[in-house]
Symmetry: C2
Subunit: 116 residues, 2 copies
DNA sequence: TCAATACATCGACGAACATCGATGCCCGAA
DNA sequence: TTCGGGCATCGATGTTCGTCGATGTATTGA
């Protein structure tokens, strides 16, 4: 699938027109989040106690097969949204909220209350 | 394509685990942004002078065919990210930044500087 | 009434992707 | 060393979706 790590690539959407290259990069980042299974996986990992979650505890709550869960975890890892650490037989995942901040910034600065 | 308007659907990703339904809705919202052509269109409209842009001025800078541009504008409109107003022969589009704010909120609250 | 322009819709094609069974690899226990 | 469990990878399949030529629908000007 060839996935690049999410990195700051552009000004906020509402400020200036995106270049073709910046749009490609930003779209690829949003594509990682554009799947219900990946969103649930990320939220499960991010909200887990101890700050980390075992892959073995993610298959059942997702209701998908083990290969499918593993695939989505790889996508999240390649994007840098989570990090993988193998300990013994198990794989432990941690969320990296700073990657989300990059996307937050791309969505624009704070919107005045009057416009919301 | 059946696209629903973007609406607030869930707590920030990093706070609690998403339900299957909330994940479906949020993923659908991100899917709208997960395309380079739509990102460029939105940024072109949002950063246009007068706060609005004519569809006739969006085809050439995008480098895509007129049907393709029209298709993407429809997706953005269905999602509520832009609004369409037909005046004479022309269609004028305005960006609605408040829909972006919904997604910003879903990406979590402010991240402490130490974690960025 | 006719021609031209702006834009949406239709139909079709190809590429990207989510999904899962089967399989391979690695580690720990016996 | 062997066995079993956890997890990644492979290969195949069905679906979704971006793209564009052709066509339809308004609206304007002559």
């Amino acid at each position: 699938m060839e996935i690049k790590p999410i990195t700051a690539c552009c000004e906020p959407l509402t400020d200036t027109a995106l270049t073709a290259e910046a749009a490609d990069e930003l779209a690829a980042a949003f594509k990682v989040l554009a799947d219900p299974a990946r969103l649930r996986l990320f939220s499960l990992i991010a909200s887990a106690g101890e700050g980390e979650a075992c892959a073995c505890d993610l298959v059942e709550p997702l209701g998908k097969s083990q290969p499918t869960v593993s695939h989505h975890l790889s996508v999240l890892t390649d994007a840098g949204l989570v990090t993988r650490e193998k300990r013994g037989r198990w794989a432990w995942y941690r969320a990296d909220a700073s990657r989300l901040a990059v996307l937050r910034d791309a969505l624009g600065s704070v919107v005045p209350l009057g416009e919301r």
